[in-house]
Symmetry: C2
Subunit: 309 residues, 2 copies
Amino acid sequence: MNFQQLRIIRETVRQNFNLTEVANALFTSQSGVSKHIKDLEDELGVELFVRKGKRFLGLTDPGKELLTIVERMLLDAGNIKRLAEQFSLKDEGQLTIATTHTQARYALPQVVTAFKKAFPKVHLVLHQASPEELVRLLLEGEADIGIATEAVADETELVSFPYYSWHHSIIAPPEHPLHQQPLTLEALADYPLVTYHQGFTGRTRIDRTFAEAGLSPDIVMSALDADVIKTYVELELGVGIIASMAYNPERDRRVKVVEGEPLFGHQTTRIAIRRGHYLRSYAYHFIELCSAALDEQTVRQSLSPVELA
Amino acid sequence: MNFQQLRIIRETVRQNFNLTEVANALFTSQSGVSKHIKDLEDELGVELFVRKGKRFLGLTDPGKELLTIVERMLLDAGNIKRLAEQFSLKDEGQLTIATTHTQARYALPQVVTAFKKAFPKVHLVLHQASPEELVRLLLEGEADIGIATEAVADETELVSFPYYSWHHSIIAPPEHPLHQQPLTLEALADYPLVTYHQGFTGRTRIDRTFAEAGLSPDIVMSALDADVIKTYVELELGVGIIASMAYNPERDRRVKVVEGEPLFGHQTTRIAIRRGHYLRSYAYHFIELCSAALDEQTVRQSLSPVELA
DNA sequence: GATGCTTACGATACCCGTAAAGATA
DNA sequence: TATCTTTACGGGTATCGTAAGCATC
């Protein structure tokens, strides 16, 4: 048994049991992948994969149980590497933050600025992704910290902490009739709407709120970011619903804002990390810069790995 | 990084930083050990060991942190092997029980008999050891299950469950004057005593009870097992204190027994396993044979590994 | 016929053990 | 001086990639 074999087992599942793709992902030959799997199965005396002829279809029962152990071992292998870097290059290295556009654009700039000042040698990677993709990046160890409003609280392998709360704002051109009437869900649903994509920046909440009121608004356009939404609102395509922090009274003079909290309530953006993922000390500092309540000790205490069995 | 390197790191600590001994323990050459350590340190970019000239003295800070991860990885490596056997040889394999003489001789025979009947193909190893040694065997993965009255409840890396309760019995020749007087600690302390070695079979409790009463009895002889104690009591060397289950009215006719519970209270023998150590299904059956309350589900639930960090 | 897995084979790199040299107690 | 570690070197083995063969879709 060696680490390459373990990596291959894990990657085979990730690549949907296509050994050719596994070889590409691990930058090795497909024949080597094939042989490694065979060798490991021989050594353990168990078939790990369900085959149909020469094709791989899935994991056997022992394969499934083995995978959870393998994942933990490879997680630990990564932990060893980061741990070593922690000591060899105290304040150097890389920190990968997986986050959505909204956070990267409106919430994180101040944190990033402060962080860069404190740790100038750390290479900061802001990996922009959807909430679901972001969860995957954390689970696979490709990102150290995830920041999002959706999805992260639902995954048991992740631990998440509240970062900050915000609410939705409704924007429309200054002369829009919406500004002449009291704001209700019904009134809002009468106009074509422009807001975020499915699963982004509180869109789930928006949809649910309308649905619970028995309304089906006409969302004429959806976008990943508020800049795009604002642009189309200015073009009078419809009424916009954006995150409050995306509205800037200085710059956004061509639209007029109404607070949407009475309609949609407030949202909590969360900071997430994978259980058992070793974090460099500067990563803890980054989290503490986000929220002073989240000091290293507090975060570490919540980081114990999920139970076995 | 490979497994041999990890094994060497772990073994170097176990062998008190003597690389020659490490090589012997791992059945390899000392030069290879030396090189592996160097290679790993180079790869990680950190010194793992404190050296004085060429001698190894201990672990550095990163070395200490690394060790805990390495231990977990090697534990998982063993888990993979057992897991595979579990599937390839369903009811075959080996089960190593580390236990003291008293348990092996008086408590376990019935369990072992029933177990052998249920799992005739499992090679059962009864590893007789002191409670401290037994803890080490469990921690190092050399034993699957430990059974003892002492020590096992104090180690956080172990989980333990109550097996059964017992008390001490006092034995003396039938005509001994002890039998003519009411049993008190003071009366007992007047006679030379024969009982178990330090740390064995409730000896801790015996010593503490006398000490708390301000008595310092004359323990003329101590032994590992009740058979030896009985022999010397029969030879009138002194009064014996043994575990109640070691007294057999049929066979032990040459001594007369007095129950010692009023003096020493009762003791609980416990079944212990290491957190995170994968157990074969027949191991769970063994535990359930000891105590019907300890079914596989109950035991597994208590087995989650100790927290990180 | 295109895709995907297995097997064969040669080159390479890695690991191991012997032996000699250097350091430490 | 005896014990212990490092370094150098040669032999063996495992790993890797190319290429050909074969099954599956």
